[in-house]
């Protein structure tokens, strides 16, 4: 079965600091994508970053980067220089046979 696990229900970080959100997954596929989505209080789902499994280089989008460890099936999200607007739920997601499977989410609170 394809599963996505986020073991940190809640995290907090002070503004301008760095925080890392964890995600592990299980799959028998070799080529796939992994996603991190942000859901602010508006509840709109916003794509933060995407990683292609066949690319060894970790994806980076401005202050957001991932640490992708394919052998360990780990896909963590690092947020640098945290901002108050980063306060949101963060979901790790994995597409499997046309379906996007989500983790249970991590609620991130950024404090001033």
């Amino acid at each position: 079965a394809q599963t996505v696990t986020q073991s940190q229900p809640e995290m907090s970080v002070q503004e301008a600091e760095t925080v890392t959100l964890s995600c592990t997954y299980d799959t028998s596929e070799n080529n796939y994508y992994l996603f991190w989505y942000k859901q602010p209080p508006s509840r709109q789902m916003i794509l933060v970053i995407r990683q292609e499994a066949y690319k060894q280089q970790n994806a980076t989008e401005n202050r957001f980067s991932v640490n992708f460890q394919k052998a360990a099936k780990s896909f963590s999200l690092k947020i640098s220089d945290s901002q108050l607007g980063d306060t949101a739920m963060y979901f790790c997601a994995f597409p499997f046979t046309d379906k996007l499977i989500f983790g249970t989410g991590t609620r991130l609170q950024v404090f001033p």
């Binding site: 994508y33 509840r43 709109q44 979901f91 597409p95 046309d98 379906k99 996007l100 249970t104």
Partner: protein
């Protein structure tokens, strides 16, 4: 450009009443379409997905049904709502172009069954 429209934004319905939530996409053809539900403070649960007109796959047995009468229209329905149907419903679409997956979500419908 590719956009997705979902309505209504909020809905309060009495127990036992029918439900119809609609989702339409623009700017793409033959997308995969999805309905997700999110309970308060919880993750997203996939309810239905469709790979084409009239093709619906159900992920979770429940009081809801889905239909895809047109290529870019996806409807979530219920004949009689239950209290447990309350939640936040998200429509999404995906398309694989040149090996690149793209998923886009609607703005959601907050359903409260009273």
């Amino acid at each position: 450009s590719q956009t997705i429209h979902q309505w209504p934004a909020t809905l309060v319905q009495p127990v036992g009443s029918p439900l119809s939530l609609e989702c339409t996409v623009e700017g793409t053809s033959n997308p995969n379409l999805y309905w997700y539900r999110q309970a308060a403070g919880r993750g997203l649960q996939l309810l239905f997905y469709s790979v084409g007109i009239g093709q619906i796959s159900s992920e979770v047995p429940q009081n809801l049904s889905a239909s895809r009468p047109q290529d870019r229209q996806f409807i979530l329905s219920s004949k009689k709502l239950l209290l447990s149907d309350s939640g936040f419903y998200l429509c999404a679409w995906s398309v694989l172009v040149g090996g690149d997956y793209g998923y886009t979500f609607g703005s959601g419908t907050r359903l409260t069954v009273v």
